[in-house]
């Protein structure tokens, strides 16, 4: 697997078990800090593969459309596309339970779609229109959905990490069994507040899964030019946080890692780090000429490791689906995206009075005694 730059993943003790990690094996792996091995990829049923395919394809097509709308001037500002990394959020989402929280940075469209937020509302936010998730006031980098437990959408690199840790704190405080999935990049992993968070999370055994999306670059800086220790899954060692690297281009590997991590957190063992070995196909944002890597490197990842193609092949070869069955899914996804784009181009801009709303919350009046 080309996305995988380190050898530590192979030969995990739990490989024979495969599938969703059983409590025993999961604990064995994560409790012993000497072990940094990923569980074997989950085995997917036909339904699971169809879901993974559909959800990843939705993100892919959505992002392609967003790129087009940017070029046409419908979307402005910064717009960071998630193309190539789809298996990470989709696999993690498949491992999550209702009530679990998600928080991430500015490359967030995929995360929102994965949590079930509506394509229309996300696209309309990208075009800055009134039916967007933030009424057009937040834009690509700043969207939230209380209903879907999506807590943003943060433009400041690394800022989401203590925030995700705080969500976990509130879960523990309230005694729920929800966990907070906190996504951040390989570049963000060098921010100081990440380590301040690690320490508190481990000290207080907070149910937070740190998902480091290692797509090999932070803007134009490759991992090896910015990081002394390039194995991010080891970054928790001095805080006694276990972690391992995961093939982030294989949705089944992500799902298995997510299952194990969720189990670890829910059973009160504290935080865990999943380093997803992934890749972004597009430039950092729309204005990145991407001269720091070769076209061949990108092409090789696309042709050899594409997360969607992997599942598509399985749909036909393992699950006996016909080309037409697959095309029907493609069509459904295209329709959703076309509808969202159409909606987002025609939805009106926010009313000008919105400039002055949402600055302060109204105090809830206290009942008079």
């Amino acid at each position: 697997m080309a996305a995988r730059s380190r050898k530590s993943g192979a030969g995990a003790p739990s490989t024979e078990k495969g599938g969703t990690a059983k409590a025993g094996s999961a604990h064995e792996i994560v409790k012993t800090l000497e072990h940094f091995d990923a569980p074997a990829p989950a085995k997917f049923s036909r339904d699971e593969d169809v879901r993974a395919y559909r959800d990843m394809l939705l993100i892919r097509r959505f992002e392609e459309k967003a790129g087009q709308l940017y070029g046409m001037g419908f979307i402005g500002g910064f717009c960071h596309l998630y193309i190539g990394q789809e298996a990470v959020v989709v696999g993690m989402q498949m491992a999550m339970k209702e009530g679990d929280e998600v928080v991430t940075g500015y490359r967030d469209h995929g995360h929102m779609l994965a949590t079930g937020m509506e394509a229309r509302g996300v696209m309309a936010e990208l075009t800055g229109r009134r039916s967007g998730y933030s009424k057009g006031k937040g834009g690509s980098m700043h969207m939230f959905s209380k209903e879907k437990k999506f807590f943003g959408g943060h433009g400041i690199v690394g800022a989401q990490v203590p925030i995700g840790t705080g969500l976990a704190f509130s879960n523990k405080y309230n005694g729920t069994d929800a966990i907070a999935i906190t996504y951040f990049g390989d570049g963000a992993a060098n921010q100081g507040q990440v380590y301040e968070s690690f320490n508190m999370a481990s000290l207080w055994k907070l149910p937070v899964v740190y998902v480091i999306e290692n797509n090999r670059y932070a803007m134009g800086t490759s991992v090896s030019r910015a990081s002394a220790e390039t194995n991010f899954s080891h970054r928790g060692v001095s805080f006694k946080i276990p972690g391992f690297q995961v093939d982030g281009m294989d949705v089944r590997a992500v799902k298995a890692a997510g299952d194990l991590a969720a189990e670890h957190c829910r059973s009160g063992d504290g935080p865990i780090i999943l380093e997803m070995m992934t890749y972004r196909y597009r430039g950092h944002s729309m204005s990145d000429p991407a001269k720091y890597r070769t076209r061949d490197e990108v092409q090789k990842m696309r042709s050899e490791s594409d997360p969607i193609e992997q599942v598509k092949k399985r749909l036909v070869s393992d699950h006996g689906m016909s080309e037409d069955d697959v095309k029907a899914v493609d069509k459904e996804v295209r329709d959703v995206v076309a509808d969202a784009a159409d909606f987002a181009q025609n939805d009106p801009e926010p009313d000008v009075s919105e400039l002055w709303t949402d600055i302060y919350a109204e105090a809830v009046p206290q009942a008079a005694e």
Binding site: M72, G77, G128, K137, H142, P350, L355
Partner: protein
Amino acid sequence: MPTEILMPALSPTMEEGTLAKWVKQVGDSVAAGDVIAEIETDKATMEVEAVDEGTLGKILVDEGSEGVKVNTPIALLLAEGEDESALESGAGGASRGATASAAEDTSATRESDEKQSAKASEPAGGNAVEDMSARRVPAEGKTHPDPDDAEGALAQEIPEGTEMVSVTVREALRDAMAEEMRRDEMVFVMGEEVAEYQGAYKITQGLLDEFGARRVVDTPITEHGFAGLGVGAAFGGLKPIVEFMTFNFAMQAIDQIINSAAKTLYMAGGQMGCPIVFRGPNGAAARVAAQHSQDYAAWYSHVPGLKVVQPFTAADAKGLLKSAIRDPNPVIFLENEILYGHSFEIPKLDDWTVPIGKARIHRKGTDVTIVSFGIGMTYAVKAAEELAKEGIEAEVIDLRTIRPMDLDTVIRSVKKTNRCVTVEEGFPQSSVGAHIASEIMVRAFDHLDAPVLKVAGKDVPMPYAANLEKLALPSVKEVIDAVKAVTYRD
């Protein structure tokens, strides 16, 4: 019907570009994702990828064409089954109509929109000084000498007969750093993407080639860490230039800037200080929303021990950055992404410096004083031009340095015009304008014929939506209205 390929927008602030090269030629088949052309923006050369598939039917904009506006049709793409005859029947009306109206709706230009700004006027309280009991004799601070006897306000900075060249702010900043790095081996530059990537906004372009990796240092994304490291390096005798990719990210580092850089000289009883420059783009760009659009002029101007510079022209950018690098104190150097691509005349001199702490009279006038700085000057200058047509002559002062502030120049002007309007993009409360207004009240109270009015960014986080962003920023119209109010016109 053939599909039009439009000149794409490739960055938040791009309005036009050069069509550098056609990679595909007429007759070539094109698949989605193929590179069809190369476009040069002021920042970079970008590859344009096809979004649709088909055959390149016609090239509408030749390679080498400069100043091609975003959304101009640059080629026609024939769909499967179409041949050249389709080109005669004209281009796909649908896609063109859609994109043209989009450009109007969402363009990143920052003209004032009169109808809308009238509707969304600030709800609470005006700016007028209503309560005269607020007037107090200053009980603290130094007493100020009357500036009337100071040097002529338009002190000639540029020797007569100096050749002028047209340079962008971007080039001026780069040249300033390069000249100072040649002059002083202790000067080095550090920040995210400053070396190999040549700067996220291309301000450090070419520096790595000339000075090497020892002096042009790419950092990880660790603002608090490298700002503090810069302070330590300055303690150690170096003269760091710390670039923040934008000043929004300096909030991660503000403790080191204020607690370590600004206060050390005082805390050390004058023994040792911190010669360091923190620089980078500041304020709103275009559509980058609340977390990436903040003007920090007022924030840093609050802090004793810091010098705060915010130039408008390329000549000032260059001359002030050179002075900042030589200054023995920490200097906050606030640039602006929108201004980077603007060209100005700059004197062709071997060592052009501009003193920190001196304002510049940008335009002479008698009826009102407009004080601004940085990108605020764009509104001030345009408003002054419009006002002149109506017979109001505004004197426009470019502060250039926010701290220490050249209030003498402001006061001298106000004593002549008896009215003042301040213009800035930052938030209105505790703003630079608020400080100027209070100083004028103290030092020129009896000369005022009207309250000082502030034009500032609206008191809201920066919205993303194009229409709201436009309203959140100051406008030329707001400056004109303020001037008319203080001159009692209309």
